[in-house]
């Protein structure tokens, strides 16, 4: 089943020439009308005329998350306020968040990508889909919501939280498909069991579209064996639009729709483009974006690419399961967290000494983040309620800036490890 057979099954040669035409006009446009990218191309001494074939994309300068931050909020936008119809906000690497904007067409392509993806895993108008990603500033909820509506599924916008209620709804409404983080689905399975509900026997839930955090084939096996739910990987970041692309029924990589995104794999250190099949850092160029173009954006996820036509008939390149990051970003309960954000928040609290450790574990199916902080000597009080107040304050500040709950442990000055060269402040004990 295809949503858009013509594009999805377009012969590879034709697809590549389509990509070239899109790239060429994108670069021309940006060079002429976007100050940020014009300056960057000038600085690298590249002119649109230098782009004479698809491979010439490697001559173009990279874009980084830092660029989004430096141009916060809308300096990088190439659409006017009257053309922008939505914002989403994710956490940045330090204090400032990352803002992304969408024109009506941008939302259209995002939804189109999801319609193709959901169709490719067999989700359609006969399905009832529960969207258990966060709604709001996070892209997951609204993205999947409109994608599922587009294919005609009945959408249940459950959002996150109230797991018992979500399970009751799955049962009562005959929900057949769910979109959420893999760990949340495992949690749903655990809670259902405690409620005496067997997902396989007592519900109609059969498909899950899982993403927003790293997971593995082991976890897929666990989900399928314990819940009888077929699980598919979904990929996409807010800079691209949001979660967009999934595996097909073959489950041999995520189909990255070639008319929407051009993918490269590079060596994260040298920036050189790697051969097909080699593992490296994913770089994306969004071919259709209007409000906020992304050219050779360094997404920092580690994967490899496969251009072979898939047995399903789709010709779009496939990327393998994300195997890690080329930076230190953590994903906690589906939320991106940069240690630099944590540091930024802690350094603004005068009672703290600046030394900290981040310890991440998984308890049951859910991530737990403990942040150990050293207090300054003068912040020590003989009154335990003063200390408890300080801890609660640090937790509230972290919650405010990270948008995720972290537990704080207060430590005496000098108690936490000191690092002479590269600090290793993150201990991630999770097994995916």
């Amino acid at each position: 089943m295809f949503w858009n057979t013509k594009i999805e099954c377009m012969p590879s040669e034709e697809l590549r020439s389509l990509q070239y035409r899109e790239l060429k006009s994108l670069v021309n446009n940006l060079y002429s009308f976007n100050k940020f990218y014009h300056d960057r191309m000038k600085a690298e001494n590249v002119h649109p005329d230098d782009i004479a074939c698809l491979a010439d994309i490697s001559k173009l300068p990279f874009m980084y998350k830092q660029d989004l931050r430096d141009n916060y909020p809308t300096n990088m936008f190439t659409a006017s306020n009257s053309e922008v119809v939505r914002y989403h906000v994710s956490s940045g690497t330090t204090g400032k968040p990352t803002l992304v904007g969408y024109t009506r067409n941008d939302l259209g392509y995002w939804t189109e990508a999801l319609a193709r993806s959901l169709t490719s895993v067999g989700i359609g108008s006969d399905d009832t889909m529960q969207v258990s990603y966060g709604y709001g500033l996070f892209t997951g909820g609204l993205g999947l919501h409109y994608g599922a509506e587009k294919v005609g599924a009945t959408v249940l916008p459950a959002g996150t939280g109230s797991t018992e209620r979500q399970i009751e709804l799955i049962k009562d409404l005959g929900v057949t498909a769910i979109a959420c983080t893999p760990s949340y689905l495992v949690h749903i399975g655990d809670v259902a069991k405690k409620m005496g509900i067997d997902i396989r026997r007592d519900t109609k839930l059969r498909k899950a579209v899982l993403g927003a955090e790293p997971w593995s084939d082991n976890m897929r096996k666990h989900i399928e064996e314990t819940m009888g739910v077929r699980a598919y990987d979904i990929y996409g970041t807010s800079e691209m639009a949001g979660p967009m692309f999934t595996e097909c029924e073959e489950r041999n990589g995520i189909h990255m729709a070639g008319d929407i995104v051009y993918c490269e794999i590079i060596d994260p250190d040298s920036g050189e483009v790697l051969e097909e099949g080699q593992k490296g850092e994913l770089v994306v160029t969004m071919l259709k974006k209007e409000a906020m173009p992304m050219i050779r954006y360094r997404i920092k996820d580690i994967t490899s690419i496969d251009n072979e036509e898939c047995p399903c008939g789709r010709t779009s390149p496939r990327i393998s399961r994300i195997s890690g990051r080329s930076d230190d970003m953590l994903i906690i309960r589906g939320i991106n967290v940069f240690p630099s954000q944590i540091e930024y928040t802690l350094l603004r609290i005068p009672q703290l000494a600046g030394h900290y450790m981040i310890i991440v574990t998984r308890e049951g199916a859910l991530d737990r983040m403990v942040i150990q902080v050293e207090i300054k000597e003068e912040a020590f009080s003989d009154k335990i309620e003063d200390m408890n107040k300080l801890r609660a304050y640090v937790e509230a500040e972290l919650k405010k800036y990270l948008n995720i709950a972290a537990e704080v442990e207060l430590k005496a000055p000098g108690e936490l490890p000191r690092f002479e060269s590269k600090a290793k402040r993150v201990i991630d004990k999770r097994v995916f």
Binding site: F380, D382, I384, M387, R391, E409, K411, A412, E415
Partner: protein, 142 residues
């Protein structure tokens, strides 16, 4: 006013990890610090050891030199042995005088059982207790 009615307590920050309290105890021993009374207030991640010692000034310097996080706190002490109800009377008098007891702990010493109190205004608290005829245990007696 320094008739010894105000007692210097040492408050020590103890990380809640196995062996930390034992370590602090060994430092106290090493520094020859003689404890008359102590109390441990605990939270999930740390504890606060409050100790009444001989020569708090000297002990404070020694502990600081060892890198221990320590703070001096003024407390007052009443006997709860010779006048039953003394604690109630003290609390009542404090309430009327607008003095808050921030925390307190009982300790049965060699001679008598006493109650140490951390209050928001120790000087005024001493006055209030004296006016109410409640005997204060002085630093010389602990």
């Amino acid at each position: 006013m320094t008739d010894g009615s105000i007692i210097t307590q040492l408050s020590i920050f103890v990380n809640n990890e196995p062996g930390r309290l034992a370590y602090i105890a060994s430092v106290l021993k090493e520094c020859d610090i003689n404890m008359h009374a102590f109390n441990l207030a605990e939270s999930a991640d740390f504890g606060i050891l409050r100790a009444i010692v001989d020569d708090p000034e000297g002990a404070y310097e020694k502990l600081k030199a060892k890198g221990v996080i320590v703070r001096k706190t003024d407390v007052i002490c009443v006997s709860i042995e010779d006048t039953p109800g003394a604690l109630f009377k003290a609390a009542d008098a404090f309430g009327k005088a607008g003095i808050n007891i921030e925390y307190g702990y009982a300790y049965s010493g060699r001679k008598e059982s006493v109650f140490y109190m951390r209050v928001n205004d120790p000087v005024k608290a001493v006055q209030v207790l004296e006016d109410s005829g409640i005997r204060l245990v002085t630093s010389g007696e602990v």
